[in-house]
């Protein structure tokens, strides 16, 4: 029986996807490949302990994939939150994907799915209103976080070109936000005051995890589809999101903000490197038309609903006014209950 191997099952999306697949196809249909075992509540899930960063990981992967009869690999071992240890994230994301793609190609895996981010397009003032899949990732970005992911995508496609049997799908998910999500975005949203850039208010896409999982499952069913953006129904502006969450915003002029944020990050206090401020300055809104036409994916939540679901999860005791008002409005009641 052909199995689906999942990497990064200790991550939020990987763990949730593992549960979803176990529920849908049974514990025997999946294989968790991670350095930490899957949660004990998931009984009977096969697990192979494997460090993708180690030299020789590709050889071990070939063995594992052959022994377990794996024909599909879903790779979710990526950092949503930037790390200070940039050399480790480079090893895991770029080199780890290189190992994984090499192992998958040699073991005759049919379909390799990569979890990626719409942020790899780069937040730039020159971006069109909707980024389509043809736009290449920003491999010259100042952010190692973006460069590593762009390299990972490139590795996967280069193996797919050399081994025509290996099909690749890259799912570029918009920023995840919702119940259970813990990223640097949610840490920023948990503070009382958030620094913003004076005079900028870009559009944001916030993706509800349920939509992300739907798209992931559809991608597994559909088969290789190259790059596909996975985005919420509608976008919202950054300040709308912060004010709906009742945050105090502290506007900082951007020439001062970049060095300050970099200093803050270097001092070990900040949540992200200074160059991440681009995401608070320029939009990187991706177009979801391809996901609709090829995968048949239709997002159920808007960015606002994702934000409100997160706020209801984060502040269960004192529901913020945003949630209270939602409860009386016509659309919101069902989301809060879920």
């Amino acid at each position: 029986m052909a199995r689906i191997a999942l990497t990064g099952t200790a991550s939020f999306l990987g763990g949730r996807l593992l549960r979803r697949l176990v529920a849908a196809r049974g514990a025997d249909a999946v294989l968790a490949v991670d350095i930490t075992p899957p949660p004990t509540t998931l009984q009977g899930v096969r697990h192979r302990m494997l460090d993708l960063t180690l030299p020789g990981a590709d050889r071990r992967l070939v063995e594992v994939f052959r022994e377990e009869g794996v024909d599909t690999v879903f790779h979710t071992a990526f950092f949503t939150t930037p790390r200070r240890d940039t050399s480790y994230s480079h090893e895991l994301e770029s080199i780890g994907t290189l190992h994984l793609a090499a192992g998958a190609a040699a073991a005759g895996v049919r379909h390799l799915v990569l979890r990626s981010f719409t942020a790899v397009y780069g937040a730039r003032g020159q971006n069109p209103s909707f980024l389509t899949e043809e736009k290449r990732p920003d491999s010259g970005s100042r952010l190692g976080w973006v460069r590593d992911k762009a390299e990972a995508e490139e590795h996967a496609f280069s193996f797919s070109r050399r081994y025509p049997g290996l099909g690749v799908t890259v799912l570029r998910f918009a920023t995840l936000l919702g119940p259970g999500v813990h990223t640097f975005y949610t840490r920023l949203l948990s503070k009382r005051a958030v620094a913003v850039l004076l005079g900028y208010d870009p559009l944001l896409q916030l993706l509800h995890p349920d939509d992300a999982l739907d798209a992931a499952v559809l991608a597994l069913e559909h088969g290789p589809a190259q790059v596909v953006n996975v985005v919420p129904r509608t976008a919202m502006t950054l300040l709308t999101a912060l004010h709906l969450a009742d945050k105090v915003t502290l506007p900082v002029p951007h020439p001062a903000a970049y060095p300050l944020a970099e200093l803050w990050w270097g001092a070990g206090v900040g949540e992200a490197p200074g160059a991440f401020l681009d995401c608070a300055r320029f939009p990187f809104v991706a177009d979801g038309a391809k996901a609709r036409s090829t995968l048949g994916f239709e997002a159920r939540h808007s960015s606002r609903e994702a934000l409100e679901a997160f706020l209801a999860y984060r502040y269960p005791e004192a529901r913020p006014p945003a949630a209270e008002e939602l409860a009386v409005s016509e659309a919101g009641a069902s989301e809060l209950g879920a």
Partner: protein
């Protein structure tokens, strides 16, 4: 939904009139529904105004005590949503922001520049259209005025989305202002997408060369880019509506340029006018010239077909002829104009 979400639970019910008992007469139900609708409308109006006032009043009355994070957050929220709707359209256009900005723009349109718009009937009432105009005036006032001219003087009251220069999409304050008032960044992808969706677009093919012209070069139309707007129009089969703006060249007369001053701020040019930067922010006040905005006969490119977009000679020829048409319209206006200030 956006109106419903503005609840501030103070002053609630104060405005609500005591409910009359429904009578059993025929037609009474309709009457009652109508009354309730009326009541709801009044209440919604009141709430929108209240939320900001109440937040401010609270802050003032509690003095220094208001400086805790939660109430500061609520105050900021009320201030923000007094100016912005909670939802924008897919391109970032914000209905309430446009509504709030309108009195100011209308003042500029009707009082300050006394804009005289002619030929708006040439703008299509529905479906895609590409308004092509000459660019001038240092800051993108001309785009906002074209937008307003079409909104006010055209029977269909259409929103003309302007394609904004890169530099304006990058600048603080101006970037959100333009995107919230319906502009998008000028790029072939954006233009093609919007035209295929049947939107009305406005474009200034002169770009930076046009808007930053020196005073002595006024009303001499610069090169029309590389004809990108023609390619998009050909590919989507959209008619081009030439538009000549006269009066905007003199609002900020550029007598010199100090581009090296603008470089650290990411500006492609740094204009020196008789008032800027010498008078500081006061120098940003545009001069009250008399404007005219003339829309010409639509140019139909249907005969060339979408494959014409691949013919660079044809594209350049069309771009040049559109430029000449607008230049002729501008020259005609200038010949009739007796005064910069009074037209």
């Amino acid at each position: 939904m956006s109106d419903m979400a503005k609840v501030v639970p103070i002053a609630r019910g104060r405005r609500r009139a005591p409910r009359p008992k429904p009578k059993a007469e025929p037609g009474a139900l309709e009457q009652r529904v109508h009354e309730l609708e009326q009541e709801l409308r009044v209440e919604r109006q009141a709430k929108r105004a209240d939320s900001l006032l109440v937040a401010l009043a609270r802050a003032v009355s509690s003095g220094a005590g208001a400086l805790d994070w939660a109430s500061l957050g609520r105050l900021q929220r009320a201030l923000y949503f007094a100016w912005h709707s909670e939802e924008t359209d897919a391109y970032g256009a914000d209905a309430r922001f446009a509504e709030r900005l309108e009195p100011f723009l209308e003042f500029l349109y009707a009082m300050w520049w006394r804009v005289e718009a002619t030929g708006t009937e040439h703008v299509p009432a529905r479906g895609a259209g590409l308004v092509v105009a000459n660019h001038s005036g240092v800051l993108p006032y001309d785009g906002l005025m074209v937008q307003l001219a079409i909104k006010h003087e055209h029977p269909a009251r259409r929103l003309c989305r302007m394609l904004a220069l890169d530099m304006f999409a990058l600048l603080p304050m101006l970037a959100p202002l333009l995107s919230k008032s319906g502009s998008v960044r000028a790029s072939p992808e954006n233009a093609e997408r919007l035209l295929r969706e049947g939107e009305l677009l406005g474009v200034f093919p002169e770009g930076v060369k046009g808007i930053g012209k020196r005073y002595r070069e006024r009303y001499k139309l610069a090169r029309f880019g590389r004809g990108g707007f023609v390619r998009v129009a050909l590919r989507t089969g959209t008619p081009i509506i030439p538009c000549a703006i006269v009066g905007a060249e003199e609002i900020h007369p550029v007598v010199g340029k100090a581009d090296w001053l603008g470089r650290p701020f990411g500006l492609p040019y740094f204009p020196l006018t008789p008032t800027f930067p010498w008078l500081g922010p006061l120098g940003l006040l545009p001069l009250p010239t008399k404007w005219s905005i003339d829309f010409g006969e639509p140019i139909d490119l249907g005969e060339h077909g979408p494959e014409g977009a691949e013919d660079p000679i044809l594209v350049n020829r069309i771009a040049e002829s559109v430029r000449e048409t607008i230049q002729r319209m501008v020259d005609g206006r200038l010949a009739r104009r007796r005064s910069i200030w009074f037209g």
